[in-house]
Symmetry: C4
Subunit: 231 residues, 4 copies
């Protein structure tokens, strides 16, 4: 075949072609396109759980907003949590140069609990005092956080997938930042039965906690280097 | 470690790698992908509030359209307002070369009230004469406009985030164009209780007003330079 | 000001920077990102109008499909029509190098009736024999086609927006292909009252007609040159 | 005309311009943008079929989850199947350099049954024991798989569309991997009437089967070369 002849005549060119092919099949561009699409849809689908209330004539703005307050609270919390996870996803993939088979599939499994977030938001929007609703919501968040830890470990253990290898301290820093939300969600899950209000408050406070912890770590004396790359 | 050795042997190369890393972690590409995704979904989700009416046999086109007119009006107004904000978002980010932590988070907070727009459109589609519906709608628009002002200030105050620094007059021009819709929405919010019809008319006229004001400013004698970059 | 000094010291560099700025503000990338997002959402939102039927035990596949047939027909027709318009949008923007203010806004106005397509599909899915439903659907399609004609004229009349200027025959060919669907939709709109079935058949046949007409024009003896660029 | 003069004066430049035009009109970028958008929306729209259950006070987590179990099962199966098809779509288009007219249209027809997947998921979520629901779901999956086979054949038969031509064994390997899911779906379709449970189990097991078969083929002794490019 013509193709086989090329191999013997132009081995260098063939190697270049194989290298180019390898780069194309491992290009993470579409992984990011799919993920950004999913994040964009998740945060906008959340609004479908905020239903237009039955307004009565002469109702004040406060009364009208009071009717939709629980689902509005669920919307805002879920929106900011999804935003936080998008920021972390963007931070991670800024390190990644090539997406291999494992990373592609792990990313799909990461998107799975994320896609259930509007369902979870609908649950706590309808039943914000019910422990079971808060526990299902917490379960989803724990799964998202767990998949994030798995992806971080997978990618940073494989230097050929990265733009430049991370040293031990950088990897530990990223792992700590990935584990941290998961543990907080787990806490909110565990206290949901005894104190539903505390559970909801933890979900609401999580993004702020995360933001502050990065800020402190970035500007702390010794560890500024490792945390400087996280948004 | 191998990585530490590299530092001492090839300081220049290390610096280049750090610079490349900095550019990658500050690349605004995914911020734009998320934002364009959200805008695309917002303007298409709006149609879900236009419900298929119950048609009766022999009904004329006008009668059928009359049934869905309020929600169709809410759709068109919200569509064009969202389009106007997308155009402004595109104008702003054409100036931006790097997205730092603050900009990434401010952009997420900008998308928050934007994602509630279909809810607001559903409200005025169902209750177009109710002051409270028009006020909630106005509140969302004021929040969107306020976040736009905050982002404009944040980005243009940080020349290292821009392709080229703006001078004082350009920054003032962009600020004026960002403040202008916010003030008009505030007016519509304030008159909603006394004159709901006027409030709705202001929302409908806003995009035209905005378009005309840029046109006038671009072609006015002295200020053509500063407004030439706005779409 | 520092910036003003730069102008006098380095006029050439300043000119380059202005040229680069011009290219960035006229980059059509985000116009395409928004449009592709809208098209992707439109064709997937259409499925929301196909409702899960009430199945009874022992029902055959044919009986079950018969229940959803009208909305499935509306789905398939609308899907293929939207696909056809996406193909035409892609053909047009392959010619376009820069998006100016007019083109950005005309594209938004083109997306407006397109976003109402799921509403139109819901209408003919529920009332496929009702002339008024078929007329509203036709009206939407006529508006989409009309905006396409306007955009074609606008862009091809401005050579500085194009990668390379079109000659008279190419412009006429593109205009004919843009006008053609509009006229067919208008016909379907006009016959909807007298013959609803014919109207629906025209909508269904349109994509095939369009596809065939390009095929014939491309492979016809004399006009192959002008139509070769259309998908 | 000025344009015609250019042709005679600068034939080489004209040829370059024509080549550049050809590359632009055949750029697959927007085909991928539309497809990624559709995949992202499909997997997130699936969640709309998981309805918020009516929780009763003091209900356990297990009881609450039991209520939504059928639609949750349908969600997870459909999500992973859609993910699998996205991975295969990405593998295929990593080979493709240019999208011609046929490929653009075949890809749209591939997206058609894919967009109906949320409807199919809704069906088996509501009627997981009904043979007819399982058969409609199977029909959709067979259509998706069939279109995938058609696209694989179309693209790999046209070397000018590819980055580098595939040899006979690579083409056969890709064809086998495309045919394989189709045949399994057909089996699930055929046994749905006699054994609904088996049918559902086959849908659930398909992604794992696919993943394992690629793994085995990649690491098998002789065929490692051909299957190495599939994710």
């Amino acid at each position: 075949m013509a193709d086989d002849q090329d191999v013997s005549v132009q081995p260098a060119r063939q190697r270049d072609a194989q290298q180019a092919m390898l780069e194309r099949t491992h290009d993470p561009a579409r992984v990011l396109a799919l993920s950004d699409g999913v994040f964009a849809i998740i945060i906008t689908l959340l609004v479908l759980e905020v239903h237009v209330p039955e307004l009565t004539q002469g109702q004040t703005l406060n009364e009208a907003l009071a009717e939709v307050r629980p689902s509005l609270t669920a919307f805002v919390i879920s929106f900011v949590l999804a935003g936080m996870h998008w920021v972390a996803h963007r931070d991670l993939f800024a390190l990644i140069r090539r997406a291999d088979r494992g990373l592609v599939w792990l990313n799909i499994l990461y998107l799975l609990p994320l896609c259930l977030l509007p369902f979870g938001a609908g649950l706590i929007g309808s039943y914000e005092d019910e422990p079971v609703a808060l526990r299902i919501y917490g379960l989803l968040l724990v799964l998202i956080a767990a998949m994030r830890v798995v992806i971080w470990r997978y990618a940073t253990n494989r230097p050929h997938l990265l733009w430049h290898p991370l040293d031990h301290r950088q990897r530990r820093a990223g792992m700590a930042l990935s584990l941290f939300p998961g543990l907080v969600y787990l806490l909110a899950f565990l206290v949901a039965r005894a104190a539903p209000g505390v559970s909801l408050a933890i979900y609401a406070a999580m993004p702020l906690l995360y933001f502050l912890s990065i800020t402190v770590l970035r500007h702390g004396r010794q560890r500024v280097q490792e945390y400087a790359d996280f948004t």
